[in-house]
């Protein structure tokens, strides 16, 4: 036996403490970690599932809750019908279940109040999740940093966190929400019903008092590529744009 103390496993057990359906395809799960940690807005955790024969599957999920929201972290998981891990959460996981989790992870796609603004946030589908943590962090810290969030969803009912985001938009405190629906007519006069393009980015930035210090783009790879191109075409230097790609 070695005299060296074994390093503590970076994995820990978290208990699902709450489940809430957000949209037809997205459900939020709150995980209460056994070893609570503090994260930064924009970070993610890795989740690991183990079958009885030892087979494991692991995936990354962004943290939707603000760092100051308490020990339980919110993950908003979109169901992919032919996926492996997301259908498990939607069909099987329930309050009281224990799930292995590791984190917080990621040191680039993060925003803190001290980073200041203006900030341009651009999310597609579940790519809004880490941006939501930033928006909530800004609100809870009563930060005056100007933020424009451009959020692309297929339909009005698929706008994750919709009521909360519209509520924040209505406060007119420097947070501005721009929704764009790709398969439905816009419901609010200032929203759009098309895919993100450079002209939309120019108009979104006009809602900010000056050019953004940083832009954050998150979503599927195709979405991030297209949105980042549009932001560059709208005049934002590539070096100011941070991306988080959910892979496929």
């Amino acid at each position: 036996m070695s005299a060296e103390p074994q390093p503590q496993s970076p994995w820990q057990t978290a208990t699902i403490s709450r489940v809430e359906k957000r949209t037809p395809r997205v459900t939020s799960f709150w995980f209460q970690p056994s070893r609570p940690f503090t994260h930064l807005a924009g970070q993610h955790v890795d989740v690991r599932l183990t079958a009885p024969d030892g087979y494991q599957a692991r995936r990354s999920y962004s943290i939707a809750s603000a760092p100051e929201a308490g020990a339980a972290i919110e993950l908003a998981i979109e169901r992919l019908d032919d996926g492996e891990v997301s259908p498990f959460f939607h069909d099987v996981a329930e309050v009281g279940d224990e799930i292995e989790l590791r984190g917080p992870l990621g040191g680039h796609f993060i925003w803190e109040v001290s980073d200041g603004g203006p900030i341009l946030l651009v999310g597609g589908g579940s790519g809004v999740v880490p941006l939501m943590a930033m928006v909530r962090h800004r609100t809870l810290q009563r930060s005056a940093a100007p933020v424009a969030l451009v959020f692309s969803a297929r339909t009005w009912d698929e706008v994750i966190f919709r009521d909360e985001l519209i509520g924040l938009d209505n406060r007119r405190d420097g947070f501005d929400l721009v929704l764009t629906l790709t398969r439905e007519q816009a419901r609010r006069p200032s929203d759009y019903s098309r895919r993100i393009d450079a002209h939309m980015m120019v108009q979104a930035m006009e809602r900010l008092p000056k050019a953004p210090r940083l832009a954050y783009v998150c979503g599927s790879n195709a979405f991030v590529s297209a949105a980042a191109e549009a932001i560059i075409d709208a005049g934002v230097p590539a070096a100011l744009i941070r991306t988080e790609r959910y892979g496929v």
């Binding site: 390093p7 970076p10 057990t13 890795d46 690991r48 599932l49 183990t50 079958a51 009885p52 087979y55 494991q56 599957a57 692991r58 995936r59 990354s60 492996e84 498990f88 099987v92 996981a93 279940d97 224990e98 799930i99 292995e100 992870l105 990621g106 040191g107 680039h108 796609f109 783009v217 790879n221 590529s225 980042a228 191109e229 932001i231 560059i232 590539a238 070096a239 744009i241 941070r242 991306t243 790609r245 892979g247 496929v248």
Partner: protein, 203 residues
């Protein structure tokens, strides 16, 4: 710890099991991950610089670099986000041939790979030489797509794929092991997929 109710049918076929490092799953597509936008690179503006510390040793333009001997390598690749892709076919210039063209022996110590977008990543020099790594120019017989690092990317297939720097524009030999972009942001200094060296807290 067994997860209640998790009985996935997604097990890899047993004949390929041994090729999948722990914690990885087999991916058929080719996901894209990067810290920023895909840079807009024109081969007319492309160059590749070899440096020892701050001192430049040799610089190639696109035509000169493409005139170096090229080799093919078909390898399994492993991304830290847990996907593994089998048999990816690459063609490019072995690091050995870059060093030979510069007229130098491989230095001891470490190498920082640098990219056009400011990205960097560190690798022990011995992990780049003796046929282990290349600067790849082709994937599946075609020029590498911009999202996948084209026109040229580093390929170090035996380490997690963030070490295979996209849009590479140079290698810099360093005496000390200096962390690159992701290594400064919590990722492992070496990154061996078989030892699951993902994050800095992994041994």
């Amino acid at each position: 710890m067994v997860t209640r109710g998790f009985f996935s049918g997604r097990r890899p076929p047993s004949d390929t099991d041994a090729r999948i490092p722990p914690g990885q799953y087999l991916e058929q597509g080719f996901p894209v991950l990067s810290a920023g936008p895909t840079p807009r690179l024109r081969t007319e503006d492309w160059s590749f610089t070899l440096k020892h510390g701050p001192k430049p040793i040799k610089k190639w333009n696109w035509a000169e670099f493409n005139a170096l001997p090229q080799n093919k390598m078909t390898r399994d690749i492993h991304c830290v986000t847990a996907w593994t892709k089998f048999n990816t076919p690459w063609q490019g210039v072995l690091i050995d041939d870059i060093l030979a063209d510069a007229g130098i022996e491989p230095p001891t110590g470490f190498t920082l790979a640098h990219s056009f977008d400011g990205y960097s990543t560190n690798v022990p020099t011995k992990d780049l030489v003796t046929g282990k790594a290349m600067v790849a120019l082709f994937y599946e017989g075609k020029p590498i797509a911009p999202d996948h690092g084209g026109p040229a990317r580093l390929l170090v297939p035996h380490l997690y794929f963030w070490k295979s720097a996209k849009w590479v524009n140079g290698l810099q030999f360093t005496e000390r092991d200096e962390p690159g972009f992701w290594e400064l942001r919590g990722y492992h200094m070496y990154g061996d997929p078989w030892r699951e060296q993902r994050y800095s807290s992994d041994s």
